[in-house]
């Protein structure tokens, strides 16, 4: 157990820090278009310097680096206001799937531009009737010559409104059990018949979309994997999702500690309130546990082991701590806590933001309940849920809300 950098790691960190100091431009408050442009410019600069996808092989524009190097760069980058979320899903989930299943021509065409931030990718899996049952896909693709004609609807599609391309999972055969009749394609989101409608979330933002398909033609050449074998392809995407998702940022024990020093409770500053201190300790224990668990995962990765479903722990903890801690902060503000105007609030409304965003984090990328099932079944080896849909043809399954 060594939590210090090795000599090589020290050198890598120093080089990264020097590069960041020279290259990380100041992030100013800006509108969406400017923010996107700044994000793309930063991604391009990182790609040129070998910091875009550190663990990817050099032939695909990565640095051929180690997972630990990737962690080190992430730690250093976090000290600058230059982290953008536009590329997480594309580079973390979609493009690795393309790299695993597309032909050489497609890979040559798309991997580089995605890495350099020139093109943004989206993942189109979820559907209104699906929820946690990802394979309950109703969006239908019917073969027509060299094309497939797609009709249906996707939902919770992060960033589709600013994305260029997507990977989409559709039903190509409703006469077989649900996992066996799916096929994966990549597509241009500007294709005729694709309509993207942002969803207005309870937090006030619009990060997700509904995507409607009306007679959208996708050439068979854009298929990823075999016909009706799309679930296997989707599993590759979902496996990468565990590594890409999970880091809830924002309010942390550090921020609430700062708040508690300034905020008056009944008998003096909140930080002197023993009940508050007890809870703060528990949030810190959880946050530190999460941070150190990530480090254990990185150690496993750097030894060539595949990270298992234990990474599911991270999201459960992060989202729940965020929700509890955010709520404790607004309750500590007493009546003032009902205000949600960044201009009037400590840390520009960070805690109110945490309270309003946490419900989504507990759902996106697998609900708490699904993640607990994953831990119970795949880590502890307990029996799977009783399922009535396993052997029935998809078209015969009961359909509810």
């Amino acid at each position: 157990m060594d939590f210090n950098d090795s000599p090589e790691e020290t050198e890598y960190r120093a080089t990264a820090r020097t590069w960041l100091e020279k290259n990380a431009a100041e992030h100013k408050a800006m509108n969406h278009a400017d923010d996107m442009a700044a994000g793309k410019a930063w991604q391009k600069r990182k790609a040129e310097a070998g910091y875009a996808q550190i663990t990817w092989p050099k032939e695909w524009g990565g640095a051929g680096g180690t997972p630990i190097q990737s962690v080190i760069f992430g730690q250093e980058e976090a000290k600058f206001p230059v982290q953008y979320g536009y590329f997480t899903i594309g580079l973390g989930m979609c493009v690795p799937t393309v790299m695993a299943f597309a032909n050489d021509e497609t890979k040559q065409r798309f991997v580089g531009p995605a890495l350099r931030g020139e093109e943004i990718w989206s993942q189109l899996f979820s559907e209104p009737a699906g929820g946690s049952d990802v394979a309950a896909i109703r969006t239908r693709a019917v073969r027509d010559g060299d094309d497939w004609v797609v009709n249906g609807q996707k939902v919770w599609t992060s960033g589709a409104h600013y994305s260029d391309y997507g990977i989409v999972l559709v039903r190509t055969n409703p006469d077989v059990p649900k996992h066996k009749g799916l096929t994966m394609f990549w597509l241009d989101l500007k294709s005729p018949g694709v309509e993207i409608r942002p969803i207005h979330q309870m937090s006030g933002g619009s990060n997700f979309n509904e995507v409607y398909f009306t007679d959208v033609r996708i050439p068979d050449a854009q298929r990823l994997g075999a016909v009706d074998d799309g679930w296997k392809v989707a599993l590759v995407t979902l496996m990468n999702e565990r590594l890409a998702v999970g880091g809830a940022s924002g309010a942390s024990p550090k921020e609430i500690l700062a708040l508690a020093k300034d905020l008056d409770a009944a008998d003096g500053p909140l930080i002197q309130d023993s009940a508050f201190r007890q809870r703060l300790a528990d949030w810190y224990v959880q946050s530190e546990g999460l941070r150190n668990t990530r480090m254990r995962t990185m150690t496993a990765l750097s030894r060539g082991q595949t990270p298992g479903p234990e990474s599911s722990i991270g999201k459960i903890i992060a989202a729940n701590v965020l929700q509890d801690l955010g709520n404790a902060a607004i309750e500590a503000e007493d009546q003032y806590g009902i205000i949600n105007d960044p201009a009037l609030l400590p840390l520009k409304g960070l805690f109110q933001g945490a309270v309003m965003n946490a419900p989504g984090l507990r759902i996106a990328g697998g609900t708490d309940e699904i993640l607990k099932n994953i831990i119970a079944e795949r880590v502890l080896g307990l029996p799977g849920e009783i399922r009535t849909d396993k052997d029935a043809a998809f078209k015969d399954l009961a359909v509810g809300r």
Partner: protein, 365 residues
Amino acid sequence: MNFDYSDDQKMLKDEARKFLAAKCDAKVVRGVLDNADRAYDEALWKGVAEQGWLGVAIPEEFGGLGMGHVELCGLAEELGRACAPIPFASTVYFVAEALMKFGSQEQKAKWLPKIAAGEVIGAFATAEGKGPVTARSIGTSVSGGKLSGEKIPVTDGDVADLIVVLAKDGLYLVEKGEGVSAEVLTTLDPTRSAAKLTFSGAPAERLGNEDGIAAMQAVFDRAAVLLAFEQIGGADKSLEMAKEYALSRHAFGRAIAGYQAIKHKLADIYVKNEVARSNAYFGAWALNTDAGDLPLAAATARVAASEAFWFASKENIQTHGGIGFTWEADPQLYYRRSRQLSLVAGAPATWRERLVSQLEMKNAA
């Protein structure tokens, strides 16, 4: 950076697990639980000494193996998993650590080889009644090299040969004998004995020059990391027991392990155990390198591990249903031990308070 045991450390841990599986099954634990006159399992204690575990972190010049604290953490995890009924923690985590931290060359040379060889059992006497130990709660004092006062409870106090005693002005070494009397106490975990010790002018030798509470806290910080590993071992074992039982027990036509209420309960235990493990690893590193982060790392590890073992041990009983509440079923062994380990170096609430104090200092710096 490396956040795992090394291959050598894993091998040592595996061997320890095999040794304990052979020498410390539930029958051995029950041999102490069911016999009020037995403070610990003598054969196991002798075996553990022969394995060299007592001196694993003691330098070679003082008769130990000089391996380090990460190795000791690995052994602690296995001893916790086995619920070992021996005075290992008192002797090694508290007394040997106190000697290594504060002892003079002579004190180390006199005692550490005996500890490493298993010839001496230690006890760390701090509490004098209910509530956390503070400067105000200490009545024990030393005058002219003679120590007087009353300590209750003292884990392993009835069998200790060497007692490190917290007095008003600092830590003292006291040997069993003249001026020391012990009264065995009935406790929540009879597999770990405890006593009330009365000192009436017992010959005492100063250990280090530090202020008493500060010195005690420094020993607690070191012990807390090691205890966290015992707690994790016990929590893991509790989860395993719950899992095995849930898989074999059938109700309403299927294994209860298939019910989501049970699955989610076991997943919750797993999450708490892993949070505790990750924090304990950081603590192990801080202890091994004597890093400035040790007080914060130790508090984090201790709070996480106390919570994990408590939760795992109580939900293990719950998973077992009625049988879990019987004397003959083993979940109680771990439930009892979880209470002992959570309190023996100060209660979780005290450690949460310490954690936040450390956090404040760190953020002010």
